[in-house]
Symmetry: C2
């Protein structure tokens, strides 16, 4: 087991990465404020891991409430969130009961938001079971649900007390889900860690085959990058916005196509290609670098062309992006591999051209 730390003063917390951690009640117990925990999971993950997590806790005298949600991005909405509140109230959970998220990004984001809001805030623990959640969404305290007009529009910053990333749980992940998670892994290399990008170029096949060592390395290196950025800019007033590389375009795909049709990581891969394309058009990166990015996504089995949406529809959807300021779109763009910048300098005509160049009917 390897342990990283997200340094946020009194709200600092550890990320444990390792094998067979879901059985380790001993790692959880020191973080419970009272001997009661409510575990939120979904109908896919619960049959695999809920008992393994809950039984050792019960044997240690913890009152465990189980809340199982339907699986999928299209349930990342208010009615489903409200079922968490219903359970918490019916089962007499309190402000000092711990809420624990067991699942992927959707479960983690919703459970996190529930913990932020229930009685104005309760303790949270993240036990991510997908690659995307382990390398990105479980770390850093961003929580949210979707609104029909915009992805992750309603949410809060609410840091967990502990993140427990059991790499063995990735063995039950579908290839499609696993590959989607790789989009966020590649993102860290592109934004701020060129050596990691090169490492991925060398080791991608070993990561794809889920070899324990390279897989753990990819997860730890991603978490380390995330932890550093979050520690420097918890509330996204600066550097943290760079983590949204590919997300302005990506969220437009997810919202425009219907939540859940494209996996988040798939949309981020295409969105990153659009951002790289735009950066290349502006002369900020070389065509050879654009090709390197494209090739790595392709080797990871990720899409590099977006769905057939009208360019105007893309632009309309992007207007609700959280980075919009004074009506102006702002994009995370590349100045090189490993060097991202936030910019509103891209002319609209170039944005349109980048989208067109990277959609399936282009």
């Amino acid at each position: 087991m390897k342990t990283l730390t997200v340094s946020l003063g009194p709200r600092s917390y550890p990320i444990h990465v390792g094998r067979a951690l879901v059985d380790r009640a001993d790692l959880l117990l020191p973080y419970l404020a009272q001997p009661k925990v409510a575990i939120v999971s979904n109908s896919t993950v619960a049959p695999l891991y809920l008992d393994r997590l809950a039984e050792p806790l019960r044997r240690a005298g913890i009152d465990v409430v189980e809340i199982v949600l339907p699986d999928g991005e299209r349930f990342k909405d208010w009615p489903t969130l409200n079922t968490i509140f219903d359970h918490l109230l019916q089962r007499r959970c309190e402000r000092s009961t711990t809420l624990l998220a067991l699942g992927g990004g959707v479960v983690g984001d919703m459970t996190g938001f529930a913990a932020a809001c229930f009685q104005r805030g309760m303790p949270l623990i993240q036990v991510p079971t997908t690659l995307l959640a382990q390398v990105d969404s479980s770390v850093g305290g961003k929580t949210a649900i979707n609104h029909p007009l915009g992805k992750n529009m309603i949410g809060a910053f609410h840091q967990p007390r502990l993140v427990l990333a059991d790499t063995d749980t990735l063995n039950t992940l579908s290839d499609r889900e696993f590959r989607a998670g790789l989009a966020e892994v590649i993102k860290y290399g592109l934004i701020r860690d060129p050596a990691f990008f090169e490492w991925l170029e060398e080791q991608l096949e070993n990561v794809l085959s889920r070899d324990a060592l390279p897989l753990a390395e990819a997860i730890c290196r991603s978490c380390q990058n995330k932890a550093e950025v979050v520690a420097a800019d918890e509330r996204e007033s600066g550097e943290r916005a760079l983590l949204n590389l590919g997300h302005t375009f990506g969220h437009a795909i997810e919202t425009g196509i219907g939540y859940g049709e494209w996996l988040h990581g798939e949309a981020v891969a295409v969105g990153t290609m659009m951002a790289a394309q735009l950066s290349c058009q502006l002369g900020w990166i070389k065509a050879a670098d654009l090709s390197r990015v494209e090739r790595l996504f392709q080797r990871a089995g990720l899409p590099v062309l977006g769905p057939t949406l009208d360019v105007d529809r893309y632009l309309d959807l992007m207007q609700n992006d959280k980075k919009v300021q004074g009506g102006h779109l702002r994009f995370v763009l590349l100045r090189g591999i490993g060097q991202a910048v936030l910019s509103d300098a891209a002319p609209l005509a170039d944005v349109r051209r980048a989208i067109s160049a990277r959609t399936a009917d282009a």
Copy 2:
């Protein structure tokens, strides 16, 4: 105009109390992060004050979005909150657009929660137009909506940038609403300001007739007390819980009878009588003090007996109170007039007896 300050370091903010403040765009402009503001009001308050607030802002070049909600505690729920989000997204509001609450406690609590959640947090200004909102709910950053199983169960701490309390707006308040607000005014005297309690005993009729000077004094003195408590304990880890005197019983009344049947202040008056009764039974306050409290509520035209709910129903409803810890009810009780304490020492039999003594069929 008198100005008080809520001291919270970099998040400190002023409370302006005075006459004809809703017309004063000049007081608002320095607090807008961008020239766009979304005003949330309700169908009762909007026809009276929305234009007076919005027009001077528009003349100053501000883009003003108007959002009018239905009036009443029973709309303090998710579907109504979601209409705020719908408007914000349709009208392209951004993370740095300011949300402004124009109305009473329901409008303030919902708008505050919307500001806490929209794009994970946007700036908030409170322009309270009821006595209850001016002396209590607009100050201190507590925001929430109700859940069918519990009042204010879903919410956040989100401080405003500015509170603008125009005392002239109280002239359009119904007697019933005005008297309900007095319950929270009296509360401050009971909790921590015995001289204020005595002042109220002397001046109550002048306050009730809404004489400008005593009314402003009552509001400022209440806000001063609130500001001091919030500055000392923003997140309610200690002293701030004392502001909930009467609220454990009161919330049970509101939730049990149906939101909106009893005004919040009316429920708090009865709840405070139950807490005082319980304190008296425990020998913590004298019967003469209990009578003083009762007499002041009665002179204010507030109820001192609760609705006919079974005692078990009261107890069941109170189990979801936010102060419950480890399944144990905790109450704010009195050690004297002007001295409140948080306690779990009350035997259940005494709690039952206090409720029975203070319900209408007793």
